[in-house]
């Protein structure tokens, strides 16, 4: 379903989108269009794109694109799909009980979960908060553990 959303394939496109999305939450999905979990997530993103269009923009980026590798490395994306949120060119973080607050790993359980997350991030950002608590109950948060290498 990624064809329903704007596809970013170069660094300039991603830069431009992050810098020019003002007073709206920007949702960037890093993944592959052929990946099954990405397809699940893309379906949810595409379905909710119109409903959240007044306070959020959604775009997808292909992790296999050569020009995107800068972002893959910066955000340390080792598992796809990884969803990252921005507000006014600031990286928004979310504490969902998982070890990594910088991104959402995996798909959302339902469309409403995704909209709830977006609303929480938007409300938090409008109050000046860089990190927000996830509104999703812990049982619906994809589980993973973080292993630090080289420390």
């Amino acid at each position: 379903m990624s064809y329903l959303l704007p596809n970013l394939s170069s660094k300039e496109e991603v830069d431009k989108l992050i810098c020019d999305t003002l007073d709206k939450v920007l949702v960037l999905r890093f993944g592959r269009a052929s990946d099954t979990v990405c397809m699940l997530l893309d379906d949810i993103l595409a379905k909710s794109a119109r409903e959240v269009s007044k306070f959020a923009s959604i775009a997808v980026a292909d992790v296999d694109a050569e020009a995107i590798q800068v972002y893959v490395k910066y955000f340390d994306i080792t598992v796809i799909p990884a969803t990252i949120f921005f507000f006014n060119a600031q990286h928004m973080k979310m504490d969902s009980g998982s070890p990594d607050h910088t991104k959402w790993i995996g798909a959302f359980h339902t469309k409403q979960d995704f909209i709830d997350v977006l609303e929480t991030i938007f409300r938090g950002a409008m109050k000046g908060k860089m990190i927000v608590s996830s509104p999703i109950p812990p049982e619906r948060v994809p589980k993973f553990q973080l292993l630090y290498k080289g420390i």
Binding site: V37, M39, R50, L146, L147
Partner: protein
């Protein structure tokens, strides 16, 4: 009261016999403004789909309809495959444009704003091209990945393959100087690995943790609906010297933008903030919290974007010959342009005369009058 025929004003929803005088009344103008602003909002919502065509699901088709207040018709989307396709076609149609023109004539709205209430044929052609590309992409996707609606079953059936890639990719993760988090599905059957263990076991811990446990985990994943989401794929981080990452607080890549921006990047997404009118912008600025995240950035960037837009139009103007309109150098007060030109030329000739340098006088040494007289007397005496 003037003795004229009664007419019905659609905007004010009243019958009157004031003739054309009605459309100049303040109450009619107020109602007309609110009517037009409502219509404009609706049409601006549609412009989102004009710039980025979206496939309309069959379940959403009955919910989509558009009331055209100029033509007095409801446009439905029951047979359309793309969102608002019938509406967009209606807005570009000659009948709609005629209706808008008639409305303008009847109600006396501002003529400059009339073009906002329709779509040009070029825009519609561009949208149709985008729709064709989108439909081609969707058919190719469906051919390669099967039916899109069948994602959950496809997901559950391919969990095992996903986990194979997960284990392989995690083992391949290279050692770098940055703190690199690895992800592992946190099912209860897994051994709990914390940061201390990772340090204790060293960098090869992923081999010992991931590889043997996946066979047991796969059946658990398929058992519950929630765990269908867990078949995530691991990817390999790009190798090479890094400047740090989000965990180490490195400067973000989007702020290290190079000066040369491509034109294609400008069309990545339609920017809704840039198209707002000034009054709307002022209202929004008041309502926004000045302490929100990146408020200073947003204000700065918005000003930059405004300047960029103005610079763009200035550059367009520069392409035209500078002498396309003769500059008479003065402020027009009254009379025809010919008179202004003559006045300007007269003023210029006067100013040129006054500014001309005086004739260079030859400086001669001072000779007193008495001395000069004495000299002449002496010369006469010698003769």
């Amino acid at each position: 009261m003037p003795n004229k025929q009664f007419e019905h004003c659609k905007v004010c929803r009243l019958s009157h016999n004031r003739g054309k005088a009605h459309k100049y009344s303040s109450s009619h103008k107020q109602r007309l403004d609110s009517h037009l602003s409502k219509s404009l909002l609706k049409i601006r919502d549609l412009s989102f789909f004009l710039s980025s065509p979206t496939v309309l699901r069959p379940s959403d088709r009955p919910l989509n309809s558009f009331w055209c207040s100029f033509c007095g018709t409801t446009i439905t989307e029951l047979d359309s495959t793309f969102a608002c396709s019938n509406t967009l076609r209606h807005l570009a149609s000659a009948s709609h444009l005629d209706a808008v023109e008639k409305f303008w004539h009847e109600n006396g709205a501002e003529a400059e704003k009339r073009h906002l209430y329709g779509i040009t044929s070029e825009e519609l052609a561009k949208w149709e091209d985008a729709c064709k590309a989108l439909s081609a992409a969707s058919t190719s996707m469906e051919l390669s990945h099967g039916a899109v609606n069948n994602i959950p079953s496809a997901c559950s059936s391919s969990v095992a393959t996903c986990f194979d890639t997960l284990s392989v990719a995690c083992c391949m993760n290279s050692h770098t100087s940055d703190p690199l988090p690895l992800y592992k599905d946190g099912n209860s059957c897994y051994n709990t690995i914390d940061k201390r263990n990772a340090v204790k076991y060293g960098p090869n811990i992923s081999d010992t943790v991931f590889a043997p446990k996946f066979n047991g985990a796969t059946s658990m994943m398929c058992s519950s609906n929630l765990e269908q989401h867990s078949g995530r794929t691991c990817i390999r981080l790009p190798s090479g010297p890094g400047d740090g990452n989000v965990h180490s607080g490195a400067p973000p890549p989007w702020l290290q933008t190079s000066e040369s921006k491509t034109d294609s990047a400008a069309h990545a997404l339609p920017n809704c903030g840039a198209t707002l009118s000034r009054s709307k912008e002022r209202q929004l600025k008041k309502s926004r919290n000045p302490k929100r995240v990146g408020a200073a950035w947003a204000d700065k960037r918005r000003a930059e974007m405004g300047r960029e837009a103005a610079g763009h139009s200035l550059q367009r103007g520069l392409q035209v010959d500078k002498d396309w309109l003769p500059n008479f150098g003065g402020v027009w007060q009254s009379g025809s342009r010919r008179e202004t030109r003559k006045e300007f030329e007269a003023e210029r000739s006067l100013s040129l005369e006054t500014s001309k340098p005086d004739k260079i006088k030859v400086i001669q040494p001072y000779v007193s009058k008495r001395q000069r007289l004495m000299e002449s007397v002496n010369m006469e005496g010698s003769r």
